[in-house]
Amino acid sequence: MHTELWSLIIEKTIFGVILLAAIMTGAAYVTLAERKVASWFQDRIGPNRAGPLGLLQPLADGIKFFLKEDMIPKNVHKAFYLLAPGIAAIPPLLIAASIPWGNQIELLGKAIKLQMIDLNVGILFIFAFASIGVYGVMLGGWASNNKYSLMGGLRSSSQMISYELAQGTAVVGVLLLAGTLSLDEIVKQQDSLTKWYVWRQPIGFFIFFVASLAELARVPFDLPEAENELVGGYHTEYSSMKFGLFQVSEYIHLIVTSALISTLYFGGWQIPFVDIASNSSFIYGVLGVISLLLKTVFFIFVFMWLRWTLPRFRYDQLMSLGWKFLLEAAFVWIVITAILVLAFPWYKTWF
């Protein structure tokens, strides 16, 4: 019993540290990708000084963040001011740990599941921690004791909670079909191209995607950081790595949300026409991880693409869309899905 417990702790700790390193590297390179994509859209070159093609730029940025002055403005509420970036960074890391990044790989004669936190209430867990992310933003905005920060924090938190509602409601469509809250099970059910839930849940997917855009506060919903109105929003008063943590958490959240969309609607680590689930060899496990990463990268690109294509919403338009349209649409979609599931059993089994 004790050796079992210890081997579990050691396995999960190693997994967690590797995941942290991978996700931080990923977040760093997503910042570079964002700048490169922006430069392509605007017909300029983008960062190209640090290393070949600018590939060492994230490293340079990271070092610079650490070496900048860690300034604490004199009017802030010190405890909450210091706590806020930490609180902002923790939830995305926990959500990242509960996404199935792959099926399993065999290492040293032991089958290792590529999902650190496998709960039977996985989706509930993810939404619970996504809500906690609001505290970091709100505390940061309030503790800064700056009117722009406070406005940014308020806007941001009420936007996040409003769209979280639509997001949480849209996902019920998938739950009706899957009959489980476990992300691992949901992926395993989408074992062929036609069984991807996006085909049976197009409207649910659309609502989820729009709500995710708003959750991430990305264009066209980037009001919390509307720089021409609010300076920098809730992180105006932050410098050095305290600001860095806010930014990193934002990009981790971007990666994690893209991975979640792929997992719920696009088959997660499944590859069309390749049976990964029943094949436990190392190479198949790695192929699964690559499959999910490709889907994730695609959605990250879509998010960036939208950023350089759409103008920004006005705040009242943003709140109207969330409360007066998306939420009601999600309710109607739940009723339609429930009727389809009950009246036509083939809708659940599909082909």
Binding site: F66, E69, D70, K74, G86, S158, G168, V172, M241
Partner: protein
């Protein structure tokens, strides 16, 4: 049970450790030069007045209260959703009435002007 939730604790510790490590290291590495103007509140270079932690629009409170109400009800849908096939049409009509009441509640808040931002 334990093997399911233990990783949550481990990952929470890793995440807290990471955040604390970053905040402490950046505090040690960076230079520290106090300047009364630099350390003052930045509001676009305009002299600020008063304290920022004061009254703000009630709309934000209303939205958060509505969120709490509806979020609880959305979570109520989850167990129903995963058991719908077993519950059958009776379960469907039960939830149909529930969703109807929810929609009525939104329409009520809408009509009362809780969702207006002008």
């Amino acid at each position: 049970m334990l093997s399911e939730y233990l990783p949550v604790v481990i990952q929470l510790l890793i995440a807290i450790g990471f955040a604390a490590f970053v905040l402490i290291v950046t505090h040690i590495l960076g230079p520290k030069r106090y300047d009364p103007i630099k350390h003052d509140t930045y509001e676009c270079g305009v002299d600020y007045y008063g304290n920022a932690q004061r009254k703000f629009a009630i709309k934000f409170y209303i939205i958060s209260v509505l969120f709490v109400l509806f979020d609880v009800e959305v979570i109520f849908l989850y167990p129903w959703a995963i058991n719908l096939v077993d519950l059958g049409w009776q379960g469907f009509w039960g939830m149909f009435v529930f969703l109807g009441i929810l929609t009525f509640a939104i329409l009520f808040a809408w009509k009362k002007g809780a969702l207006e931002w002008e």
